[in-house]
Symmetry: C2
Subunit: 299 residues, 2 copies
């Protein structure tokens, strides 16, 4: 089968063996934002038309391609959900020459009844389950623009919570007075990250701690080349503290961009929480596993 | 004497009687950002030259005019500080035809040793002390872009903490995915504000609660015309919760823009904290009181 991880800004396509082995892979800057209305069949053919012509007649798509802004909206599936439930909730889209299905996103509610959503991460999570192992409970943390903390129970996604940390970092460091306190060209500074993280564990709350970035810079206590790392430590520290307070089962399994995962690992270490780092490139395996749950007549 | 509240974007000038009565007032869009380097004497003469020519030879300036970006930097004065200490720390700037002095900002440290600063608010606070009354301890909250929570002890500023709430609200509502969830033309919605505020008191932390603005909008649970009020309630709720946790002495005395003060009053009410609202236009009286502490030879 063919698996495609089709996000907002890029498209990654995999030609997959039945056991999940990647026979061929491709990547293109052909995210859904670049596809005009009605243009999805043509964009898919452009990306993998030769594989289809060579006999692959099953294509499974995950990511934002299944959102309201994508090809067709694949409605969110409620947790708990594992590979079988996700496969059962895929939806078919019309395409000539192959059977094409969209993976749904997942939804859950936090204890207060506020909804949560993910789209794309569910497939990576399924791909990571094998590496996480057989523990009846586990916690997966996927750092990024919108960081996901995922509760795994008996091989299924039991629930999850999203933290807007990455996007808040970007907005604050570019569009507030804090921008003036930062040399954004400077390399990461571990000591400043640790100071920001330690600050997050003190009283006062994030909205107060943020002003401290400004005042410490003003008073010469935080050089511009340390500003970004301090802010990063402050925000990740607040996120980790809140996630731990909400209750997570250690060890924490981390997967994501290497540099970002290293920061979360550092933060978890400071909190004394055991953690393990996994290969983030799990979407192909997740697509294979979800696709593998579909019998020939399901496609 | 003449008092001038000279901030980043505007200039307010007062011709003051010795008892603090405002004889004349003026306002101009002549904030320090509009003044070219070296242009402050000319800008002051333009604003109040006729009053000086008419015999007023003492001019006291407060606000960002005393910052590094202003006329001359008036170094921050450490708390505790009242009108007398502030008057003693004013600095003289050269000006032909009048004695012109700059009010310093204030600085303090929070319990963890992180510095705090204010500039301009110290003068308003001095002007508000009379209205606050004679209690040995009081808390003043000055909502704004950078909201100040001020501890008053025996008529002096004992310490304070700043929350970046207003600026964070602006950055998040304009420069993150939350912008898509909001109709910024809609009038305030009290029910949505209350829902946001209630959310702030639940577990999960601000970075998680922010994503809930997005998900609730996505799920049709938060209409666009309620998005801004919900976010406002969420942020102010987090601020008030953190300030109360840090320890403040009720009642809380509020002074600031009417609409914003009303939101803080609503939040404090929800937390069951008594509060009083004061006339925010206290800079003129503060300037008069600080100026009144200066003897003729001090000028």
């Amino acid at each position: 089968m063919i698996g495609v991880d089709w996000g907002t800004s890029s498209l990654r396509a995999y030609r997959l063996a039945p056991d999940g082995t990647v026979r061929e892979r491709r990547e293109a800057e052909r995210g859904i934002m670049t596809v005009p209305p009605g243009g999805f069949p043509a964009a898919l053919r452009e990306a993998v038309g030769d594989w289809i012509a060579a006999g692959e007649d099953r294509v499974l798509l995950c990511g934002m391609v299944g959102s309201r802004q994508g090809w067709v909206e694949a409605p969110y599936l409620a947790c708990p959900a594992g590979a079988a439930e996700i496969a059962g909730a895929t939806i078919r889209v019309p395409f000539e020459g192959a059977r094409v299905r969209l993976v749904p996103g997942l939804t859950t509610c936090d204890p207060a009844g506020v909804p949560e959503v993910m789209r794309g991460e569910e497939t990576k999570i399924i791909g990571l389950l094998g590496a996480i192992g057989e523990a009846p409970e586990a916690t997966l943390c996927l750092p990024g623009t919108h960081c996901k903390w995922v509760r795994i129970r008996e091989g299924r996604v039991a629930g999850f919570a999203t933290y807007m940390t990455g996007e808040v970092f970007a907005a604050l460091s570019a569009h507030t007075i804090l921008a003036r306190t930062m040399d954004t060209e400077a390399p990461p500074h571990a000591g400043a990250f640790d100071r920001g993280m330690a600050r997050a564990r003190q009283k006062g709350g994030l909205l107060h701690h943020l002003f401290g970035v400004r005042t410490q810079a003003l008073m010469g206590e935080l050089p511009p080349e340390q500003g970004e790392s301090y802010l990063s430590g402050l925000l990740i520290g607040h996120e980790v503290a809140a996630a731990l307070e909400a209750g997570v089962a250690p060890p924490i399994h981390l997967a994501g961009t290497e540099s970002l995962v290293a920061l979360y690992a550092r933060a978890l270490g400071a909190f004394g929480i055991p953690h393990r780092i996994h290969d983030p490139d799990a979407a192909a395996l997740g697509l294979a596993l979800i696709g593998g749950c579909l019998g020939d007549t399901d496609w």
